[in-house]
Symmetry: C2
Subunit: 226 residues, 2 copies
Amino acid sequence: MRTAEASDGRALSDLTARARIRDAAVGCFAEHGFDTPFRTIAQAAGVSPGLITHHFGSKAALRAACDTEVLQRYHRLKTAALADPGATLTSWLTAPGDAAVVTVYMLRAVQAGGQPARDFLDSLTDHARTLMADGVAAGVIRPSRDEEARVRHLTHQAMGAMLVQFLIAPDTTPDVFVASLRAREQDVVLPQLELYTEGLLTSSDMLDDYVRLVAGPTGGAPAPTA
Amino acid sequence: MRTAEASDGRALSDLTARARIRDAAVGCFAEHGFDTPFRTIAQAAGVSPGLITHHFGSKAALRAACDTEVLQRYHRLKTAALADPGATLTSWLTAPGDAAVVTVYMLRAVQAGGQPARDFLDSLTDHARTLMADGVAAGVIRPSRDEEARVRHLTHQAMGAMLVQFLIAPDTTPDVFVASLRAREQDVVLPQLELYTEGLLTSSDMLDDYVRLVAGPTGGAPAPTA
DNA sequence: GTCTATATAATGATAGAC
DNA sequence: GTCTATCATTATATAGAC
């Protein structure tokens, strides 16, 4: 008899052992990193270490299963947040509980690099692309000469700044980390709002020169009028 | 007979064995990460693995010696670049050779987190602080309501974006990585110049609200007039 | 100072009993 | 399906010969 595999609610303790191991691994990976030994994961799942290998075959396969699980949770949280107009991107990414685990897991995946890092960053970029396009369409965000380059760069920049905050923070639980992010909010929101509102440079000479030099001869997009 | 310990020029092959091991470790750590086994480092240094333990005692001590060495190289490169008015910060960070090793080593140190990450980021922030203050004094950079928060945030953001580029790039040598950074320059310079020149938002409402809400009651710095 | 050989510890993966 | 016991690998650190 197989119980439902937590297609939505989750948190039920009567799951398939495979699902329980996977969820325990997601939690351990978020909390202690991907080098967490099988013994720790098995203990968290309430099973023996050998059973992990029995169900997943190898550590790489377990990691892959956790990656897809976290990506699914991310998309669930994303659609739930899009339905709530009051939630900003950083507000729900730093919510405690499941969102905190997803956020820290993604940070650790980016930290570890490789294809999983690219996959998670692509998902975040997809998210930012729609938000950015909506903002431009609504007139609250200035258009760019290269929208795709901008959304990628801003996503990498935002994720990178968050990753740096994570890397210099002491080792804690996901909930404690996102709480520290919110606590230090004033240190980042003011500079960020200044930058997004007023820019950094007093003159547009550097941008003008660059556009004339690089984007000009190749027939780049015309300068936005907004 | 002890030869000079490479106080400046370096690259001499007649160094103390300890220095040769340290330099080999710096190169291996930059190229293959801090998990490089002793065998690889010993082979690169032309010594036996046991000699590493004999000279440094433990792997943590070797790592610490490499950290201070790289920090010294960074400061040497920094002062050399400050003497050259034509060099920008990213231009000499992405120069091939010794600068590339220093850059990638620092990226890997930040990736690994902990106290070394904080130390390297502090040095980079110190560097940015003077550049930013000079720019504000020269009138090319807008003043901020909180200069210290801005310099920290912008440094973390810039380093974070570079780190993300590094983490999603395929494993290569430091020289190849910084070359790829320069090759992809147009993907990041245009969005960055747009952001630094024009900002992102069309309205200053969010900033005004935030300043009134948070910085106002606590007697924050007045809005810059530039 | 330097090397060879070894001790020790930890981990992922395997084999077989229940 | 699950567990216990074991294997094989890897890496750091140590001991002692030269």
